[in-house]
């Protein structure tokens, strides 16, 4: 007997979306956590909101706008960091707010716009259409390929960027490539948990995993598994208790994070 939950197409789609997204943020989140660029990732995802607003205003797919804006943000950040005179933190913060403000402005200018904006801010995994799943699959293939090809280089620049530069690796280009896959991952995650909660899914599964493994590859694999368990469980909790799926997933993730830390503390690891 198939449980009722699996009889709905939208639930099947949501489950597949969760599994596909877990692959992307397990890998990319591991880089984000070890390189400590959560704030940068937050900046990129929030800037994407400007693109969503522009898409709504001009009548094209808001996700295309999100992709464009997040890629622009990735380029700007990669240029900013070599400019010693600028304060990188401040500029990312400004970009973050500016992107959000543009998004709000564009949507408020859209005549008769009534669609619920919170689905972009907090995600709405139950409305993920089948075409979007193909896009996620494509993104996963891209991220996994890039990670396999550039594993050594990414490890070098995330572990010790200065040394990587000294030994002649193209650090700036590699870093830009890393920011680009962060940007694309962010956009895909918008559907799942929304802009505001993306930061949590990039950081929590990877942070939990980091404490139990001894190398980056295993950290990625464990992050993917942890992410799958958390998003699917979150989805089920949301379904049975009639809660917002994105929020339920994040709250569950935070509890998992705290429990994991408590466990490590008690076992003295």
């Amino acid at each position: 007997m198939i449980p009722e939950i699996f009889q709905y197409d939208f639930m099947i789609n949501a489950i597949v979306a969760s599994l596909l997204a877990s692959i992307a943020f397990g890998i990319v989140g591991s880089y984000v956590v070890v390189k400590r660029i959560i704030f940068i990732s937050g900046g990129i995802s929030h800037t994407a909101y400007g693109g969503i607003g522009l898409g709504i205003l001009l009548g094209f797919d808001p996700m295309l706008g999100a992709i464009a804006f997040s890629l622009i943000a990735a380029f700007i950040i990669s240029k900013l960091r070599n400019n010693a005179a600028n304060n990188e933190d401040v500029l990312i913060g400004i970009m973050w707010a500016f992107g959000m403000a543009l998004g709000i402005l564009f949507t408020s200018m859209t005549p008769g716009y009534t669609q619920n904006l919170s689905s972009y801010l907090f995600g709405n995994i139950l409305t993920v259409p089948r075409e979007e799943l193909y896009m996620m699959l494509l993104l996963d293939i891209g991220i996994v390929s890039i990670t396999v090809i550039y594993f050594k280089e990414f490890q070098a620049i995330t572990f010790d960027e200065e040394y990587a530069r000294v030994i002649g690796l193209p650090v700036d280009n590699l870093y830009l490539l890393l920011l680009i896959i962060i940007a694309l991952t962010t956009v895909v995650l918008i559907k799942l948990v929304g802009i505001i909660l993306v930061v949590a899914l990039l950081s929590i599964p990877a942070s939990i995993s980091q404490r139990y493994i001894t190398n980056l590859r295993n950290m990625m694999l464990l992050s993917i598994a942890v992410g799958m368990v958390l998003t699917i469980t979150g989805l089920f909790i949301a379904y049975y208790f009639n809660l917002a799926a994105g929020a339920a997933t994040i709250i569950l993730s935070v509890f998992a994070f705290l429990l994991s830390n408590l466990y490590l503390k008690l076992t003295n690891k």
Partner: protein
Amino acid sequence: MITPVEFKNVYVRLGNAVVLENITFKIADKEFLGIIGPNGGGKTTLIKTLLGLIKPFKGEVKVFGEAPESTSKLIGYVPQFSTFDMTYPISVHNVVLMGRMAVKGGKKGFNSNDEEIVKKSLEKVNLLNLSEKLIGNLSGGEKQRVLIARALASEPKLLLLDEPTASIDSNTGVLFYDLLQNLNKEITVIIISHDIGAISKYVKKIGCLNKTFVYHDSKDLTKEKIEMAYHCPIDLIAHGVPHRVLEEHHHDS
């Protein structure tokens, strides 16, 4: 024999400030040079210039007779370990393996020859038994030795160390300098530090850097030299490094 490092009237600017002014010196093969100077005196800038990361706006730098940008493979750079994240999930072995990327570039895979060199490098710094340990679980002195092994894995002709003893205790420091003296039998070593006392005991030559560089072909660290570099002799005495002690070290050697 090609001169490992040569600076000719080098001026370096950071933003609008001239950080290095008219630096001229030359070091011999198998030299063990200590460079001391106050914070903000341009030590880091000198390192970056030597590594080809910063270009001087005037003057000429040569590393083994060539421009520094093309000789990065010949320099084994050892940064301060305290400046980067030690929660990174990576084993000692894999950190040292990164040194091989200096020789091979990124794209080529590692082979048994690389593994052999990594093993030898770890042996030289006496860390072979900790090869599979996570870098974060090592002591300060051990971490610093891992970074030396990584530099050695690129089979450099010159070892360049930035404040290597800044975060390790003095006992470990003594062993550390013994290790450097041993390595110095085969390669040229430059060590940059504010730790005047320790440095002057082990190095063969010493130079003082504070925007300008005072360097003579001897290890004789005179009061005038230090004062010129630091502009503040009282500070030195307050930190427990009186002039007298340095002279005694000089006679010991």
